[in-house]
């Protein structure tokens, strides 16, 4: 009985850690969802998918916070920065439609917030590149 309890105690943190989604998993989810969307998908359809993605990112960040209430760690940093890179596209997805101006503004914001402070020839992060692909998809609809 004692042995079983100790075993369960050891298993619990391992189990809770396993539920925390990583950046790689989120990137894969994003790629797959984007690719399954048909070329003539409506603004609403794309926006719905983005909002689902935003919810799962927010849930993951909350889980990381619960897991480590005082200070965030390395994997949380990656997930948080991925979510930050998508912030402008998530905001655009909450609109009823995308205008040319709104699309240009979102593109500038994604690039600026990703590259601010970096050298002239610095490349965009993977998260910002992925957000721009979603933007392209969303902005084809107006």
């Amino acid at each position: 009985m004692h042995f079983q309890l100790i075993f369960l105690l050891f298993l619990f943190p391992a189990f809770s850690y396993a539920t925390l989604q990583t950046t790689a998993e989120f990137m894969e989810q994003s790629h797959k969802t984007r690719e399954t969307l048909s070329k003539d998908a409506s603004f609403k359809k794309i926006a719905d998918e983005l909002q689902t993605f935003e919810k799962s990112l927010n849930t993951a960040i909350q889980e990381y916070e619960k897991d480590s209430p005082l200070e965030g760690g390395d994997e949380e940093e990656k997930v948080f920065k991925l979510s930050f890179g998508f912030k402008n596209i998530f905001n655009l997805a909450k609109q009823k439609s995308a205008s040319k101006e709104a699309c240009e503004k979102a593109k500038h914001q994604i690039e600026f917030e990703d590259k601010s402070g970096l050298d002239e020839d610095a490349k965009l992060s993977e998260a910002a590149e992925e957000a721009l692909k979603w933007l392209e998809l969303l902005c084809k609809t107006f």
Binding site: I61, P69, G72, K81, H108, F112, K115, S116, D119, E120
Partner: protein
């Protein structure tokens, strides 16, 4: 007739400017041999390029300089024991009323930004910023690899001191610019050498294309609009450039950095964008990001300045957002705790402190590479640059 009078006025302005320029170049020619930053004395191209420029900022500087040496006329105030006729008392009373009105108005006017002391800019300019300097003495820019430092003399320091402080006063609004932040920033990035340019950044504040776009087309456009419309005297050297850039979005062209580093329009433009970028980051990004998490923390100017400084440097905006998330910042977070965490987590803030240490050693006549400087411990006021500003 109208043409003639316009022509005469233009001729007078041109003659005055030429006279001031001639006087300036004569006075500086004598001090050219004094390269205060240890560069070789024949390296006068940069000094010459400043003296040859006739842009609005330079002309404002020369005018201010010539006015400051004009002998002060006898005071219009009557002596205290003057006869007490009404006729003589009237201007005196009017003067008292004028001063009193000014005092009352100043109680309600926004507090002006503090000025960066000349001594600190001089000490910064004696540092070797260790990057490539560009000369704009010919139409094409010349890169001087491995020889970063341009020779600078006392006149160069005077001009940079005037230009930086004019820009700070011009661009300060109800929430004045914290001059200490800019001193630390410019000292860290370029040691106040306006000619430094590379793919890492261009000019005093090391601007990049993405930062320039943020001012000309993004959240910082209001900065250009405010300068273009400003009636402040300090904006005189910057107004035309702001107005021009509102019409034609400027770009950084890696083949010709001169519109951003030339002692003429380049210096004024660089100051507008460098200080404008600091204001945009502070007011449009950092303060709102902190306020989303805590309503009280944004009132700490030191904290906001540190976070703005991080976002301005290579760690960027993303890192600031992450620091706030990492330390679970909320309404219960204490300012001191967060500030110490912020400082521990930023290499850029650490670099900035090291460069302030170097600047302070130079001010105290200590060799920045020597043991004495290494052992010198900065006071809190020196570290915060409080000793480098005055009202």
């Amino acid at each position: 007739m109208r043409f003639n009078s316009c022509f005469c006025i233009s001729l007078i302005i041109l003659c005055s400017a030429t006279t001031v320029l001639a006087l300036e170049s004569h006075s500086s020619a004598a001090s050219v041999e004094k390269c205060i930053n240890g560069d070789y004395n024949e390296n006068t191209d940069f000094i010459k390029s400043i003296e040859d420029s006739i842009d609005p900022l330079r002309l404002t500087y020369l005018t201010a300089k010539s006015e400051s040496v004009t002998p002060i006329k006898n005071s219009s105030h009557p002596p205290c024991l003057e006869t007490d006729t009404n006729k003589k008392q009237l201007p005196y009373l009017q003067e008292i009323a004028k001063v009193a009105t000014q005092k009352i108005n100043s109680l309600f006017a926004p507090e002006p930004a503090a000025k960066i002391n000349r001594e600190c800019i001089a000490a910064a300019m004696k540092r070797n910023p260790g990057d490539t300097g560009i000369l704009c003495t010919t139409p094409k820019s010349i890169s001087r690899k491995n020889k970063t430092n341009q020779c600078i003399n006392d006149n160069t320091v005077d001009y940079i001191h005037f230009a930086v402080n004019s820009a700070i006063q011009c661009m300060s609004s109800d929430d004045p610019i914290d001059s200490r932040v800019l001193l630390k920033k410019f000292n860290n990035e370029t040691a106040f050498h306006p000619s430094i340019a590379s793919k890492g950044g261009v000019g005093l504040g090391q601007m990049t294309s993405i930062a320039v776009n943020e001012i000309s087309q993004g959240q910082g456009r209001y900065i250009l609009e405010n300068i273009a419309a400003s009636r402040k005297t300090e904006c005189k050297g910057f107004r035309d450039i702001a107005a021009k850039d509102l019409e034609k979005n400027p770009r950084i062209n890696s083949k010709n950095f001169c519109p951003w580093v030339s002692p003429g329009d380049g210096l004024a433009r660089n100051l507008i964008y460098s200080i404008g970028y600091y204001l945009t980051l502070r007011d449009q990004y950092i303060i709102p990001a902190v306020e989303r998490r805590s309503s009280s923390l944004s009132s700490s100017k030191d904290l906001i300045n540190d976070l703005t400084n991080i976002s301005y440097g290579p760690e960027g905006l993303k890192q600031v957002e992450w620091i706030l998330q990492k330390y679970r910042v909320n309404n219960k977070t204490s300012t001191q705790t967060l500030q110490s965490q912020v400082n521990k987590n930023s290499k850029y803030l650490e670099d900035t402190k090291n460069k302030m240490h170097e600047l302070t050693c130079i001010r105290k006549d200590l060799n920045p590479a020597g043991k004495e400087c290494e052992n010198y411990k900065l006071t809190i006021d020196e570290l915060k640059a409080n000793t480098c500003i005055s009202n």
